[in-house]
């Protein structure tokens, strides 16, 4: 990565195309200037168009949340005549969005906490201790990255059922944790390996036990890695749809937000409560925008951390 040492070979690799470029270079004359302008101009249009495509559906949802049914059907572009906050009240209480929202918060906070605790414990031991079976256990965890959840769906349903945890919070939380472990262990093990050994050794000499060393020395040192993986897990578990659909199917009072909103959208047609559905969608989207606006740098880093190995 040191440009000083690795640069020389690269210009040498370029010459083949310098030839063909100098052939066109003369014809272009003052080309680069206008080319830059044209390219940047077209680029700007494309970027702006995509930004509109991303923003407009979301903005339109927010506006429609304040409309009534006849306004929704008259024109998608007009503003609501008045701010009908009662749409949100209806969504929050009557359509149970409040309940689903709090369920999601409860499940995801428990499962992310559990994932981080168990995942970092396992990753730490696997990364920094030599013992018989270390590699086997590591590969057992990492192999989970290669399996689609759908392969396990049927047996998983029956395992949870036999444990009596179908339609319970703890069932969903434990399953979320289990399915988040492969990536968490894989990522954190690599991270713990990069931490210097000198600090750990100093701690040991001071008579610090293994457990205390982990919680009071290694965990704080691993903070950047832990934050990235925690963000990755929070967003992944918040978005989870298929697992709660299978594991909570008969306990409507425990449904998570994704499940609840999807269900409302099916029923909205029968009850003709479109504004309620838009309000429900707004309740689901708006907090994510706020969280994202505050933590966008960390969130981008956390979510892409999986791909940059």
């Amino acid at each position: 990565m040191n440009p000083q040492s690795t640069l020389p070979p690269t210009p040498a690799a370029l010459p083949p195309k310098t030839g063909e470029n100098s052939a066109t270079g003369g014809r272009r004359g003052k080309g680069p200037r206008s080319e830059v302008r044209l390219f940047a101009g077209l680029g700007h249009v494309a970027l702006a168009v995509w930004a509109v495509i991303v923003i407009v559906p979301i903005l339109w949802t927010f506006l429609a949340a304040f409309k009534n049914t006849s306004e929704i059907f008259s024109s998608p572009w007009t503003l609501p005549a008045e701010l009908r906050w009662e749409n949100f009240g209806r969504a929050w209480t009557k359509a149970n969005v409040g309940r689903y929202f709090l369920n999601s918060v409860l499940v995801v906070s428990c499962s992310t906490f559990g994932t981080m605790l168990l995942g970092s414990m396992a990753a730490y031991v696997l990364a920094r201790y030599r013992f018989w079976g270390n590699r086997a256990i590591y590969y057992l965890f990492v192999s989970g990255l290669a399996f689609p959840v759908f392969l396990a769906l049927v047996p998983l349903f029956f395992v949870v059922k036999q444990l009596g945890m179908l339609d319970t919070y703890q069932g969903v939380v434990l399953v979320y944790i289990a399915y988040s472990l492969p990536f968490t262990v894989f990522f954190l093990a690599a991270f713990f390996k990069t931490l210097p050994t000198s600090v750990a050794e100093a701690g040991m000499i001071d008579g610090c036990g293994h457990t205390r060393l982990f919680f009071q020395v290694m965990m704080p040192m691993a903070k950047p890695g832990l934050i990235s993986v925690a963000i990755f897990n929070i967003i992944g578990q918040w978005a989870q749809y298929q697992l709660p659909l299978v594991l909570l199917s008969n306990a409507k009072d425990k449904w998570v937000l994704t499940q609840g909103i999807a269900d409302i959208s099916v029923n909205a047609g029968y009850e003709a409560d479109w504004s309620g559905l838009f309000a429900a969608l707004t309740i689901a989207i708006l907090p994510m925008i706020i969280v994202y606006a505050v933590f966008q740098r960390q969130i981008q880093a956390g979510l892409t951390s999986g791909a940059v190995k």
């Binding site: 690799a13 995509w50 998608p76 396990a152 289990a178 940059v308």
Partner: protein, 302 residues
């Protein structure tokens, strides 16, 4: 350092391993076994060997789903990567160069923040959002506009030959921002001197892109392709929520995950659903292996 190592190691590993084996490894192992039975959940499962797999070969819905995965597998990565590469290039090296430092176009930071946002939303929520966007009457975002201009509404999700593409468009809508950020990170690590040297030789923007950026970004592209391919093999949430009656109309948008879910939890054909799961597993594995193999080439050191 040695003192009391094993009790500590075992103490730390016990809970995660127990949880992982119970809910992940054990079900995966069982899936292969159940796929060889005709289990319907009530009586004891009977061993039927490869019967379920033979049935799969004659199952129209299964082949439709596989075909849709084929379409998604080609189109989703191709479209997403093309758009994301174009934007990432604009945002990182598209602007003017000042003092040898390549810059993105004006507003690059804003675009990067906005484009990435859909990635934060749950796919199920996005599916509900686009159900509204695609609605076939005046209440839909797109058709509301079309009908204002006196045009016929487009039946995005109802027309069999349009439905899958409508769903694909939503997947692209969500994915582009993620890959813009991913490619941006890759482009940022390409030293500016290389661009400078190429530009001094009179390379145009287009040449820069194809001869410098693309080859140096190859590893990241490979990762992107595998990720998008794996996403193309899932697509459950979007199809289950967005499409007309779960994979419709008439199976025009169904995917394997949808068929597995339906066979298992609607028809209680657990053995058959598991066989589909195994098929999905081998398809995913084959795809990942093939991609890594086919796209393998000397990565350029810099």
């Amino acid at each position: 350092m040695r003192h009391g190592k094993y009790p500590f190691v075992i103490g730390f590993l016990f809970a995660p391993v127990a949880l992982y084996v119970t809910f992940v490894i054990w079900p995966y192992a069982q899936a292969f076994q159940i796929s060889m039975t005709n289990w319907r959940g009530l009586s004891a499962p009977q061993w039927v060997g490869f019967d379920n797999y033979r049935k799969l070969l004659d199952d129209g819905a299964f082949w439709k789903a596989v075909q849709h995965h084929g379409v998604l597998l080609l189109a989703l990565p191709l479209i997403t990567i093309a758009i994301a590469l174009f934007f990432a290039f604009l945002l990182n090296v598209g602007g003017k160069s000042s003092g040898g430092q390549r810059q993105g176009v004006w507003g690059a930071k804003f675009y990067r923040v906005v484009f990435f946002f859909p990635q934060v939303l749950a796919v199920a929520i996005i599916a509900v959002l686009f159900q509204m966007v695609y609605r076939p009457n005046e209440s839909g975002l797109i058709n509301g506009v079309l009908m204002k201009f006196g045009l016929e509404p487009i039946l995005f999700l109802v027309k069999p030959n349009l439905a899958l593409w409508s769903i694909l468009a939503v997947l692209v809508w969500q994915a582009v921002g993620f890959y813009v950020v991913l490619f941006s990170a890759g482009m940022a690590s390409i030293p500016g001197e290389i661009y400078e040297a190429a530009e001094m030789d009179g390379a145009s923007r287009v040449t820069l892109f194809f001869r410098v950026t693309l080859p140096l970004l190859w590893d990241t592209l490979q990762v992107a392709w595998v990720y998008l391919g794996i996403a193309a093999f899932d697509a459950f949430a979007i199809v289950a929520v967005l499409s007309v009656d779960g994979g419709g109309p008439d199976g025009a948008t169904t995917v394997l995950a949808m068929e597995i879910y339906r066979n298992a939890f609607v028809y209680s054909k657990y053995g058959y659903a598991s066989a589909m799961g195994v098929a999905l597993f081998f398809l995913t594995l084959t795809f990942a292996a093939l991609t890594l193999r086919l796209t393998k080439r000397e990565s350029v050191e810099y």
